[in-house]
Amino acid sequence: MNEQLKLDFDKILKTSKISEEEIQLKKGFLKKFIESGFPNRKQEDWKFLDISQIIKKNISGLSFFNDYSIPNKIDKSIFIDGLDHNKIIFINGRIEKIDFNYEDQNMIEISDKTEKKITFGNENSLIDLNNAFTNKVFEVLVKKNYSLKKPLIIYHTTNDKIKSNNVNVRLDFELEENSCLRLIDFFKNSTDKNFLNILYNFNLKKDSILKNYKLDKFRNNNLNYSFNNIEQDNNSISETFILSAGADYFKNEVNCNLNGKYSSAFINGVFSLKENQQHEIRSTINHLVENTKSYQLIKSVLGKNSKSAYQGRIFVNSKAQKTDGYQLSKAILLDETSEFNAKPELEIYADDVKCSHGSASGSLNENSIFYLMSRGLNYQQSKQLLINGFLLDVIEKITDSEIKNLIKNMIGLKE
């Protein structure tokens, strides 16, 4: 693999125009990645699902070179109907279109930050890989006191023109004071077994609101990794919703730093997995100052041979008095072969806090099924009703009614 990495890296240097300074920077990240390789189960954060094994098993010859000079044709059929929206379209890791037609163009600024060494440091070799191989880094800036009228949908797609089987994508967002952004990540892949590595960096200023919905609904064989880093200033709110159901492997990481007083973070997630799917959510909420709040609710429904993992960590600094932190993970195991792993973690250094977590897992309650069947439903229907009710609990946490309905329709839960 290392030979391939170096080979492809040189190809990229030849085909794209980047500054010498940046080349050096990227080389540094490549070196770091080569030293550590893909993360494996020996690392605490990767204990439950070992990505190095999974990649080895699924992708035999990993390659990293994509030619970003040739544009791809946009397939309009993938667009979401019934909801007016702004678009950013990624095809094979290349940004094909940025479209903010519904918005006041003066209030949104999109800049190419590739040249300015925007690098993101973290003890995570996948981020090093991302830093080394991302094509362009764009920053979306939402100006002061502006709320986007329509949500922004980012389409993550691949087509058969793809040359490598690793795609690295990076976007930065800055929300100025009192602004608001609704962001949907929509995954639709028609090619087989790629490793998609996404890195988002959010900077939330005072009083701003970010709502991020990650929708991975349609069954595909991709391996996805997504990392959200969210920095929050006073009074800001971030809401992350993750629907994890489509890819073969999906790990969503959310790292949230509550740097400002009265800031709050919400993470809600749904796993709905079948045959051989392995998904994970790992969240880290760092309560760094007083009066911050976080709430997490993760629910899994696990079918045959599927496996889900949830690692949630609440960290409370000794300064962060009056913290309110809550974490709940629940799972229904439908088959003998399904597996649920959880590691809800609390690390607390302040005494005047209210932190708790809960985790429960088991099979569907036979008594409830009996109750429904005695009222005339058949076994399948009763089972489905109970599962829907179980998941609806999380969907109802979505604060945006337009998007809530979209998601309900998408997964077949009607009003």
């Binding site: 003998e336 399904s338 590691k343 985790s359």
Partner: protein, 480 residues
């Protein structure tokens, strides 16, 4: 002065901090094959035992000290330790208490553990371990009548080699982690208990560990076997003198419960915790593991951890037999600069197995307390269930309380429930108590005891009273 205040007065300083001035025999300093041979030789062990130790030592060479734990400590120089230290008078083991060195008797009297049977401790049989050797075991006659074997490990190796051979290392194999393997190579003494089929042990069995010599590590090994349908309740207590150095205590405890047997293992750990600046104290790195081997067997761990500079242990249950039950009740209190990383592992292998974990952590001062636990339900463990509750109480914002549970459910018939909370003593509760005439110290004592009640209830009578006092004393000066 009421009685509680008197207790506090007398115990404010670590009252077990004295040293006994006694002549010692020591193994040469350092860890190597010769030292292991020396230990084996001085204990007149058979050849198979020496082989067991050497195999473990060989294995140890390949192992690295683990470092994933939360409390970090300066590197231990294993070559700068004495692995064997025993009072000289114990070279030829005295046949009865009359021959025992009076200084030793005096020591145990001071610790409140009289060894003479006439001063019997409400029907508790005691095995007293002083540094590396067991000095005395009481009530042997009474126990022998029931066919119960309760003696030191060295004696068991001599007299009951078939049992020791069969079970030693069956729960904690010599291929285990670093500290367990180190223990397998150099363990010196400990207690051995065998309860024959169908016998309900008529009294509490107890071991009292005492570290006296300096620059020594204590490596004791305890093996308890409960044969079919038997029951035993076992207590363990520990103290050590006050010293500026950190001393290592790396014990192994193995429990085996056969069909329908029940073992109840209680610990009140009060090793010297170091002074208020965090200097000195014991490193308590203990491996405790129980195997519910037979059907309907039950193992229950109860621990009150108040001492030690660093506590790092996870008393575990392997629920192999169908319908077996594992329980873990723990109170861990850290004050000043103490650190603890403790919890349990419940490994469900058999059908219909049940486990329950209740953990209460209290941290004060500059201390750090971590609950780390694993619940693993195997795919064959149909219809199993686990319930975990871990609560932490923080006093002040210089200390930390952490919860790190690992939950693995591979069986769709099984249920796991876990909950954890972290909080402080609420102003309302304090106000309510003070309004009714308690001072703030008493109020905190009352609330903390209430917080710990679920665990304290699990302790045998004599221990519960002691533990309750200990809880209050450990937190002395942490409020207000």
């Amino acid at each position: 002065m009421d009685s509680r205040e008197k207790d506090i007065e007398s115990l404010k300083d670590y009252k077990y901090g004295f040293t006994t001035d006694i002549e010692n025999i020591r193994a040469p300093k350092g860890l190597n094959e010769d030292v292991i041979k020396f230990i084996s030789n001085i204990k007149k062990e058979p050849k198979w035992m020496l082989e067991f130790r050497l195999k473990a030592y060989e294995r140890l060479q390949q192992l690295k000290e683990p470092n994933w734990q939360k409390p970090k400590y300066p590197k231990i120089d294993y070559q700068n330790l004495y692995y064997y230290s025993a009072p000289k008078s114990m070279k030829d083991k005295p046949k009865n208490l009359d021959e025992l060195d009076p200084k030793l008797l005096e020591t145990y009297k001071k610790l409140g553990i009289p060894l003479q049977e006439q001063a019997r401790l409400n029907g508790i049989a005691v095995d007293a371990v002083f540094d590396s050797v067991s000095v005395a075991t009481t009530f042997k006659g009474e126990l022998t009548k029931h066919g119960i074997i309760f003696c030191s490990m060295s004696e068991a190796i001599q007299k009951h080699p078939e049992l020791v051979k069969k079970y030693l290392g069956s729960v904690i194999p010599i291929t285990d982690h670093f500290f367990a393997t180190l223990n397998s190579a150099v363990f010196t003494d400990g207690s051995f208990v065998y309860i024959p089929e169908g016998v309900r042990c008529p009294m509490e069995l107890s071991t009292y560990f005492r570290i006296n010599a300096s620059e020594t590590g204590q490596f004791e090994r305890t093996l308890i076997i409960a044969d079919k349908g038997s029951y035993v309740s076992y207590l363990e207590g520990c103290t050590a003198p006050m010293r500026d150095e950190n001393q290592l205590h790396a014990a192994n405890v193995e429990l085996i419960a056969l069909d329908n047997a029940e073992i109840k293992y209680s610990t009140v750990q009060n090793w010297y915790p170091g002074d208020e600046n965090g200097k000195g104290g014991i490193y308590n790195f203990v491996t405790k593991r129980g195997l519910c081997k037979g059907i309907n067997s039950k193992i229950s761990w109860t621990q009150v951890e108040t001492g030690s500079a660093i506590t790092w242990k996870y008393p575990s249950c392997i629920l192999k037999g169908d319908n077996s039950i594992g329980e873990f009740y723990s109170i861990a209190i850290t004050n000043n600069h103490q650190k603890a990383d403790t919890g349990t592992k419940m490994i469900h292998l058999g059908k219909n197995t049940k486990s329950k974990i209740i953990s209460k952590g209290i941290s004060a001062g500059f201390s750090d307390m971590t609950y780390r636990g694993l619940v693993d339900i195997n795919s064959k463990a149909k219809n199993s269930s686990n319930y975990t509750q871990c609560d932490s109480l923080l006093m002040g914002n210089k200390c930390g309380a952490h919860t790190v549970p690992y939950i693995k459910n591979k069986n769709f018939d099984s249920n796991i429930a876990h909950e954890a909370t972290t909080s402080k003593i609420s102003e309302e509760q304090l106000h309510y108590c003070q309004q009714r005439g308690l001072n703030s110290e008493e109020a905190v004592g009352l609330i903390v005891n209430g917080f710990c009640k679920e665990v304290l209830q699990q302790l045998p009578m004599e221990f519960a009273v002691e533990a309750q006092k200990l809880v209050g004393i450990s937190l002395e000066g942490s409020v207000g």
